[in-house]
Subunit: 474 residues, 2 copies
């Protein structure tokens, strides 16, 4: 992280948290340079970056000001969700597929998509790494690099964790076909059909689909849009339902964007360990942080091998390559064996390509660029939401990832918005697909991972209009 | 298939079936040329090929003779297996993993391996196809080519089926991470935990592991080493156990090498259809035939969409690329949805690489070479088995694939042979891993997919020695 980036992050955080208000003048470059003991060019670079992110505006001969648009942003959601606390079999797949399949048309505006724009990835550079590996493939690697996966790739992944303070070695990792396979194997390792699993409310629909597929029950736990699952409610649910596992996204949760603070993560891990409860941790967005540091995974606090941590390169580097992994603690061998019976192995040339790319050392540079782009797109989308969405709307400002969670006024019907939008060539992810009891009926998840071009701008205007219509009284 | 190959296949079959005996003189080139209405050079090429396969020997100034070694080949197994016919939960994984993991040492002689020598694949040419695709990857394909898979690849796969007389279109196919994922999804589509599934006896251990993982019961059905599962016994088992599916390898079954004749396949499909029973068909070895034609899959006779046919490129073209598929008939949408929740998608650059390779048109040429090599290796391994294995041994002569099934005298213990061999750096697949009731205790599966070099020759001698030891009376 360069100095100017650290400064920009610091100021951006102050703006997001309201410490600096819209319209307020930033210190001059000279003042800031003196106060922070940085060179003027560093300060200038930081301001320039903030301007690119839409957070500040320069005025001729007058300096930099916090963007006026921020003044009109809708408030953030400020309360944890309130699910009913029941344990129930999951039956969401039909609804989820209906929504997803309506979003698969090629020319739809992908605001409901789970993917960011593929143009944001270094696919050409990665392709050159793959070209080299594919042409020089050692025939033995078609056997040696099967499960648990290519040793060099696992070493690079482990190294990134260790730099981030998480004690993992190459042998703790099982390479999988994306995080979703890793998650499937981990939940299979710790549950049997009929068991109950604690999840966030709302939670990623694919997690619910996996639970459904494994014949598991879900217990939704109150979750705050800023700092994640409520530990008190979690403890209550453990006592009441005797679940067999807990499945969370600790960083930039999909769909809320919430991130659990470090202390809360530690407390979570300790709470679960007291009950010998495994934690399935889906951390695919952790690298997409806008702040200075990658937030730690809960795995960092795991002293008992009870955290089954899963992640992938699909959201950060290589969509379509399908390379993810599990660090499954005491369940590592079990997960490796399940992997053998599920898909045997992960595409070898794709593993080698990513290992080679990581070895070349440009991953961190790519990530820095990607994070800046996403932060700027978040600002732009927030501004558009402020402009087009009705009075009473609330919207999150996550510190990373590429999803906004929009709470419409309570008398709005997100499924209706979805259906009307789909008819107009726009996809959106309606709240009920993120809930085992079809909750969050007035909420939407909005993907800001695509550049806000004229087409997206028009689509956001349409969505705002659709969201202004009250649903007929039930 | 060239004319000389067809002639060689015809003669090879006569030799394998005993119509031509060891030591018998083949017709002269001139005689055969006149009798078969082929050019002398075609006949010469055929004899030359048979000599390369070790099936005939030339004697100076005297002509070609059926190889003397064939005289000493052990007889083929000549009776169907006799499992106990019970339905039972599957619990083989521990044993299978113990055996497989002992075979994972890097320098072990891989006679127990499920893979043939990776040197037999056109990895460099395939790598060049992948290099081209990876460097020119259209970012949109990282989304468009997710499940059900790249359209061009599916079109090429469907085309191969149609040329072989199987009516399949691109939309009938779901691309998967190898056949093993396809099989997992298919069995999940048609069963629920606790259901019973009919399998061959012996059957591929990975099938048993998949059943175990899904909480299913297995019913082993008598199976003949030459022509596969016994339909009478199958009908009896259906009536007795009311299974929910049947899972077979119809061509070059692993481990027996059996292939169901066409008429029997048709009868099988009709029998199952009368009971509305889905057939999971694993056909990964079908392309590795030594005869003139690829044997048809049972899918060719499916008029009710009840055959869920699975295959892959892993055994024929691209090990480690992990590209397989399912043609799941009436369950196609269900399988595609299960695929989305299991691994979301299959590695896109690997799909594109294979599509490009297939389009280039050299797949058929590669397959011809591969089949000839495997047929020659089978002869060489059979000769070695004849030389080293004890009196009373029986061994199959499959018309394709790369496995021999060896029945030792009944008082031998295959698990002991496995353990003793592993201690000497040799892997072998013992019979009990192919059975839900640990049957086939005196049988071994021998992989002849690796060139019979001095190291393998020495290993076969050791195995023969170990197989000569009677097990202590129980």
């Amino acid at each position: 992280m360069k100095r100017y980036q650290a400064l920009a992050d610091d100021i951006a955080r102050s703006i997001r948290q309201g410490l600096l208000s819209p319209g307020q003048r930033l210190p001059s470059v000279r003042q800031a340079s003196a106060a922070r003991q940085l060179s003027p060019s560093t300060v200038f670079q930081a301001y320039y970056l903030l301007e690119a992110q839409g957070l500040v505006q320069s005025r001729a001969r007058s300096g930099y000001y916090v963007s006026e648009q921020a003044r009109t942003l809708p408030p953030e959601p400020d309360a944890a969700s309130q699910p009913d606390g029941e344990s129930r079999p999951v039956d969401v797949s039909e609804l989820v597929f209906e929504v997803l399949e309506s979003a698969m048309a090629h020319d739809i505006v992908p605001l409901g998509s789970a993917f960011m724009s593929p143009a944001l990835f270094p696919l050409a550079k990665l392709g050159r790494a793959m070209a080299h590996e594919a042409v020089h493939l050692d025939p033995r690697s078609t056997v040696d690099d099967l499960t648990p996966g290519n040793a060099e790739l696992r070493r690079h992944i482990a190294l990134r964790y260790r730099i981030g303070g998480v004690e993992l070695g190459a042998n703790d990792l099982v390479v999988c076909n994306g995080a979703i396979e890793a998650l499937n194997l981990c939940i299979a390792a710790v549950t049997r059909p009929g068991d109950a699993v604690l999840v966030e409310s709302p939670c990623f629909y694919a997690a619910l689909q996996v639970l459904e597929r494994h014949g598991l029950h879900a217990i939704e736990v109150p979750t705050h849009p800023r700092d994640g699952i409520e530990l008190g409610a979690l403890a209550t649910a453990i006592a009441r339902h005797r679940p067999k596992a807990c499945w969370l996204m600790t960083n930039f949760q999909n769909p809320l964007g919430s991130t659990m603070p470090d202390a809360k993560k530690r407390e979570l891990v300790e709470l679960l360990a007291r009950h010998e409860l495994p934690l399935i941790e889906d951390d695919v967005y952790g690298e997409l942080h806008f702040g200075t540091h990658r937030p730690a995974p809960a795995k960092a606090y795991d002293r008992h091998g009870l955290v089954l941590h899963c992640s992938s390169f699909s959201k950060t580097l290589a969509p379509g390559y399908r390379i993810g992994w599990a660090a499954a603690g005491r369940y590592t061998q079990q997960v490796a064996r399940l992997k053998l019976t599920n898909t045997l192995a992960t595409c070898v040339p794709a593993q080698l390509a990513i290992a080679r790319y990581l070895q070349r050392g440009s991953y961190e540079r790519h990530l820095r660029r990607l994070r800046t782009t996403l932060a700027a797109q978040q600002s732009a989308y927030l501004t558009a939401v402020a402009e087009h969405f009705p009075q009473g709307t609330r919207v999150t400002r996550p510190d990373g990832g590429y999803f906004l969670w929009i709470e419409l006024p309570e008398d709005r019907d997100a499924l209706r918005v979805h259906r009307e939008a789909a008819r107009r060539g726009i996809s959106i992810a309606p709240g009920p697909i993120f809930s085992a009891h079809r909750g969050h009926g007035h909420c939407l998840r909005l993907n800001y991972g695509h550049p806000l071009d004229a087409r997206v701008a028009a689509a956001l205007r349409v969505l705002g209009g659709l969201s202004s219509v009250r649903s007929a009284p039930a």
